[in-house]
C-alpha cells in the first residue's frame, strides 16, 4: 500500500492567536501558521491504513518554505515515511483550481503512483472544500468524499467507506470503489483499531516516527548548520522540477480573485444588557432567578 496525504498550513484561528489590523482585516503575516485542522482527519485515515494494511505514507503540501514545519508536525501525526513540499514563488496566491493542478502534478511526479490519496475536507482559511475533489479530477481516480469510516481490502483492491450526505435529510451512505482511489475525509472521521496487534503496531510506529520528526527538526533548526534539503526523507519541488507552466499555477493560473474583504459587520444591538458582576451576589441572584424555573427536578 502506498498512500499520499495532502495537507496545508493555515493561520492559527484559536482565540488570541489571530491578529487584525485597524480596519478589522486579518493580518496573515502576524498570525502563526499551523496545520489545517481538518487535515488531521485525513492523517488519521492514512494512519489507520498504514497500521492495518502496512505500507508507506508520504505527506505532501504546497506552500512557502515555512510549511516545512507543518510537514514536520504532520510527520509525527501520520507516522509519515517521507515529506514533499511543492514550493515556488510562481505557485503563490493560487486558488483551488491552480492548486489542484499543482498538487496533481506533484502526485504524478512521485516515483511510485499511490494506491490511495487522502485530503481533508476544507481549509480553515479558504474554506472552499474544492481542492481535494479538483485534484482528484486531474488524477482521474474514483473519488469518495465526506468519509467518516474506511476499510481497505488489499486482496480485492477495493475500498469501502461510509460517507455523509446533506440535504433536507442527512444520510449516511456506504460506498465501494476500486483502488487506486481518492479519499476526502469528513471532520467526523473515526479511525478504528479493533485488533490488539493493530494497537501495538500503532504504538511502535508512533515511537519510530516521533524520532524521525525530531530528526527533521534538527535540520529545520537555524542553530544547527544542517540544511533541510540534505535530509533524505524530504523533497522540495519547484515548477521547473514539475514541468508546470507558470501561466497555469499560482495567481496567474487562478480563475478567481478576491475582489474585496470586508470585516463582518457587527451585529446591531437590540437588547439592553444588564451588567452583572460575577462577584456580586445580588447581581448573580438576578441571573439565577431566570434559570431556576428550568432546573432539573429531583
Amino acid at each position: 500500500m502506498r498512500s499520499v496525504v495532502l495537507t496545508k498550513g493555515v493561520p492559527d484561528f484559536r482565540e488570541g492567536q489571530v491578529s487584525f489590523d485597524e480596519d478589522g482585516h486579518l493580518e496573515r503575516g502576524k498570525t502563526p501558521t499551523v496545520m489545517n485542522p481538518n487535515d488531521k482527519y485525513a492523517l488519521r485515515a492514512a494512519l489507520q491504513t498504514k497500521v492495518r494494511n502496512e505500507g508507506q505514507v508520504s505527506l505532501m503540501s504546497m506552500g512557502p518554505p515555512g510549511y516545512m514545519e507543518v510537514l514536520q508536525e504532520g510527520m509525527a501525526d501520520v507516522y509519515a515515511d517521507d515529506l514533499y513540499l511543492l514550493s515556488d514563488r510562481e505557485m503563490g496566491a493560487a486558488d483551488t483550481w491552480a492548486t489542484a493542478m499543482t498538487a496533481a502534478t506533484g502526485i504524478h511526479n512521485l516515483e511510485e503512483s499511490p494506491d490511495l490519496v487522502f485530503a481533508g475536507f476544507k481549509t480553515a482559511d479558504g474554506e472552499t472544500g474544492h481542492t481535494g475533489p479538483q485534484t482528484d479530477w486531474c488524477l482521474d481516480m474514483p473519488l469518495i468524499t465526506h468519509v467518516i469510516s474506511l476499510d481497505v481490502d488489499e486482496d480485492e483492491e477495493t475500498v469501502r467507506a461510509k460517507r455523509l450526505v446533506e440535504g433536507d435529510v442527512e444520510e449516511i451512505e456506504t460506498v465501494e470503489a476500486p483502488m487506486p482511489a481518492f479519499i476526502v475525509t469528513d471532520a467526523e472521521f473515526e479511525p478504528t483499531y479493533h485488533r490488539a496487534e493493530h494497537r501495538l503496531k500503532h504504538k511502535d510506529l508512533r515511537d519510530a516516527t516521533e524520532d524521525r520528526a525530531d530528526e527533521f527538526g534538527e535540520y529545520l533548526d537555524d542553530d544547527t548548520d544542517k540544511d533541510p534539503m540534505d535530509w533524505d526523507r524530504f523533497t522540495m519541488w519547484n515548477h521547473e522540477d514539475l514541468n508546470l507552466d507558470p501561466d497555469y499555477i499560482g495567481l496567474d493560473g487562478s480563475p478567481t480573485i478576491v475582489a474585496g474583504v470586508d470585516p463582518i459587520p457587527k451585529a446591531p444591538s437590540e437588547r439592553e444588557a444588564t451588567d452583572i458582576d460575577p462577584d456580586d451576589d445580588s447581581d448573580m441572584e438576578q441571573v439565577v432567578e431566570e434559570l431556576t424555573p428550568y432546573a432539573a427536578g429531583d
Binding site: 489590523d21 482585516h25 472544500g129 475533489p133 479530477w137 507552466d245 487562478s254 475582489a259 451585529a267 448573580m284
Partner: protein, 551 residues
C-alpha cells in the same frame, strides 16, 4: 413639458429611456402623468428609483471637504471609486500621507489614479499570444497540453444555470431558494444589459422528469434533465460528466465533436450556481474544473455588476485597469467567519474563465412563491454513461437520525472560544450546566468547531458541526440562551437572537454579544459556570455560595 409621457409607452421601452434622464423635476412630472393615467406600479417604481439615484448622487460628499482620518479604508475606497479627477485624487493622496498614512488607503487612491491615467494609453499595445513552448522553452511538457485543461478562448456565454439537487425524487429546499435568486438576478441582468438571457435548471438523477413543473414554477425558463436508473444516488464522475456534456452541447464546441443541439446556441453557460451541500459543492468544483473555470463556495450573497480590475494576471498589462462586464460578485463568510470576501471569477488573456460559478449556503435566500402558471422549455438530455463512470457504487444508505436537534428546548447552553485556555474543561462545564436543567441542549459557536483545539476523548463527541448555532448551523429559539465565551459574530446572532432571554458570559467588557444580551456577566466562564451550575442544582444562589465556601 416632459419629453416622454410614460402613459404612451410600454414598460419594456421605458426602462432604457428613463435611465438617460438626468433631471429629477422632469421625472417628477412624468411620475404625476403616470399616476393620473395608467398608474402602473412597476413604472412608478422605475421612475422613483431613478429620482432616488439622481438625488443620492447630488448628496455625495465633496472630496475636498472630508476629514480623511475619520474614514475607514473601506469608506474611503467607496468614495474614491466615484472620483474621476486626478488632481482631486492626488490631493487626497497627499493628505493621507500627511495624516494617518495607511498603506491600504494609499493603495486604493493610487490604483484609482492609475485606472484613470492608465485609460489614456488604451489601444496603444495589443496583447500578443505567445505559445507556452516559446514562452517557457525550459519546460518540456507545457501544462496547457495536460488532459485536464480544456478551456475556451473568446467563447460565447449566456444564461445562468442552476443545479437543482434532489433527494428521494424531491427537490431539496436550497434548490428552490437558488431558483428564486437566479430569477431575481437574471431579471435585473436582462434589464441592465438589455438582454434576454435565461434561468436554466439542471436536473440529474432517477425519476427527475416529474419535477419539471415545480422547477418551472420557481422561476426556470429552460429545464435540462438527465435520467438514468443508475443515477438514483449521487455519484461524482457520472453526474459531472452529464452536467458538463449539457454545458458543452451546441455552440462552437459542436464543431469539435460535441453534440449539436437545437436548444442551445452559445458555447457554455455564463454563470453556474450549485447548492453548498456535501454533494452539490463537490459537483460544483468538478464541473468548474472540467470546464477550466473557477468558483466561490458557500456564498451567502450574489449580485451582478461590472468590475474594474487592475490585477495584471487578468488584464495582461501591469499597471492597467480594465473593466470586466457582467461579473458575478460572490460574497461569502471567510477565514472561519472573521471576514466577508467578495470573490470574482474573471477571464485572463487567451484563456476564458467561464462559466463563473458559485455554490450557495442553504437558507441564504428565500424560497420564492411558486407560480403554477409559469411554463418552461423542457429538454431531455441523452447520453450514454459508461460503466467506468459509475465505479464508485453506493451499496447502502440510511437517514441519519443521530443528528443533534438543538431546537425545541427550554434552555440552550452554547460555548465559544472562551474555552481556549482549557478546552476540555470548558466543554465539561457546559455539559454539567446542561445536566442541571430539566430540558436543555448543548451548542457551540462556529469558532470552536473550526479551531484546532485538542479535546480529550470523552468530550470530543460533543464537538461537531451538528452542534453549531448560527448562520451555517442551527437556529434556536429557547426561553433562555446561555452564551459562554462567545464573542458574538453576526453569524452567531442569526442563530440565537429569537431566544426570550439571553445571558452572556465573557471576560471582554466590550464583546459584540453584549449588544444583544439581556444579562452580561463580565467574568471568566471557568469561574462563573461552576457557580451557576451549583445555583441551578440547589435552587438558589445562597446555598450554592455557602456550599462553595464549605469546600
Amino acid at each position: 413639458m416632459v419629453e416622454i409621457d410614460p402613459t404612451e409607452h410600454e414598460i419594456a421601452d421605458l426602462g432604457p429611456k428613463i435611465k438617460d434622464i438626468e433631471d429629477a423635476d422632469e421625472l417628477r412630472e412624468m411620475l404625476a402623468l403616470e399616476e393620473d393615467g395608467e398608474d402602473r406600479v412597476p413604472v412608478k417604481t422605475l421612475i422613483e428609483d431613478r429620482i432616488e439615484k439622481l438625488e443620492a448622487d447630488d448628496e455625495e460628499v465633496d472630496p475636498d471637504e472630508i476629514e480623511l482620518a475619520e474614514l475607514t479604508v473601506a469608506d474611503l475606497a467607496n468614495l474614491v471609486r466615484d472620483i474621476e479627477d486626478v488632481d482631486v485624487l492626488e490631493d487626497l493622496l497627499d493628505r493621507e500621507k500627511a495624516g494617518k498614512d495607511r498603506k491600504t488607503a494609499k493603495d486604493r487612491i493610487e490604483s484609482q489614479i492609475e485606472a484613470i491615467t492608465g485609460g489614456d494609453d488604451e489601444g496603444g499595445e495589443e496583447l500578443e499570444y505567445v505559445p507556452p513552448e516559446e514562452k517557457h522553452p525550459d519546460l518540456d511538457h507545457p501544462t496547457a497540453d495536460k488532459q485536464w485543461v480544456e478551456g475556451l478562448d473568446g467563447g460565447e456565454y449566456r444564461d445562468m444555470w442552476v443545479y437543482c439537487e434532489t433527494q428521494h425524487g424531491e427537490l431539496i429546499d436550497v434548490s428552490r431558494e437558488m431558483l428564486g435568486k437566479a430569477r431575481e438576478l437574471m431579471d435585473e441582468y436582462n434589464e441592465e444589459y438589455d438582454e434576454s438571457e435565461k434561468v436554466v435548471a439542471v436536473l440529474i438523477g432517477d425519476d427527475v422528469a416529474d419535477l419539471t413543473d415545480e422547477v418551472a414554477a420557481y422561476g426556470a425558463d429552460q429545464i435540462l434533465y438527465h435520467e438514468d436508473p443508475r443515477l438514483e444516488r449521487f455519484t461524482h464522475k457520472a453526474y459531472t460528466e452529464a452536467f458538463v456534456d449539457m454545458a458543452r452541447a451546441g455552440g462552437q464546441l459542436a464543431a469539435e465533436g460535441m453534440e449539436d443541439v437545437d436548444w442551445k446556441e452559445y458555447d457554455e453557460p455564463r454563470y453556474t450556481v450549485f447548492p453548498a451541500t456535501n454533494n452539490g459543492r463537490d459537483l460544483s468544483a468538478l464541473v468548474q474544473g472540467e470546464l477550466d473555470s473557477g468558483l466561490a463556495s458557500d456564498c451567502s450573497g450574489l449580485y451582478i455588476e461590472n468590475a474594474m480590475i487592475s490585477n495584471p494576471a487578468k488584464t495582461g498589462v501591469p499597471g492597467d485597469s480594465k473593466e470586466f462586464e457582467r461579473i458575478l460578485h460572490m460574497k461569502r463568510p471567510d477565514f472561519s467567519g472573521f471576514e466577508y470576501s467578495t470573490i470574482l471569477c474573471i477571464d485572463k488573456p487567451f484563456r476564458d474563465f467561464h462559466p463563473q460559478g458559485a455554490s450557495v449556503i442553504p437558507g441564504s435566500f428565500e424560497i420564492p412563491e411558486a407560480d403554477e402558471e409559469r411554463e418552461a422549455e423542457v429538454i431531455e438530455h441523452e447520453m450514454d454513461l459508461p460503466e467506468e463512470w459509475l465505479a464508485v457504487e453506493v451499496t447502502d444508505y440510511d437517514a441519519l437520525d443521530s443528528g443533534v436537534d438543538l431546537t425545541g428546548h427550554d434552555v440552550v447552553v452554547a460555548m465559544g472560544r472562551g474555552i481556549g485556555t482549557s478546552p476540555t474543561e470548558g466543554i465539561e462545564l457546559g455539559l454539567d450546566l446542561v445536566e442541571a436543567f430539566d430540558d436543555a441542549a448543548f451548542g457551540l459557536s462556529r469558532g470552536v468547531i473550526t479551531s484546532s483545539y485538542s479535546f480529550e476523548g470523552h468530550v470530543e463527541q460533543y464537538i461537531g458541526e451538528d452542534r453549531q448555532i448560527g448562520e451555517s448551523g442551527q437556529v434556536v429559539e429557547p426561553d433562555v440562551y446561555i452564551a459562554a465565551g462567545i464573542s458574538g459574530a453576526i453569524q452567531h446572532k442569526v442563530g440565537m437572537d429569537e431566544a426570550d432571554t439571553i445571558i452572556a458570559i465573557n471576560t471582554d467588557p466590550d464583546a459584540d454579544i453584549r449588544g444583544f444580551s439581556d444579562y452580561y456577566i463580565q467574568g471568566d466562564l471557568f469561574e462563573v459556570l461552576p457557580r451557576l451550575i451549583r445555583a441551578v442544582e440547589d435552587g438558589d444562589l445562597a446555598t450554592a455560595v455557602a456550599e462553595a465556601s464549605d469546600d
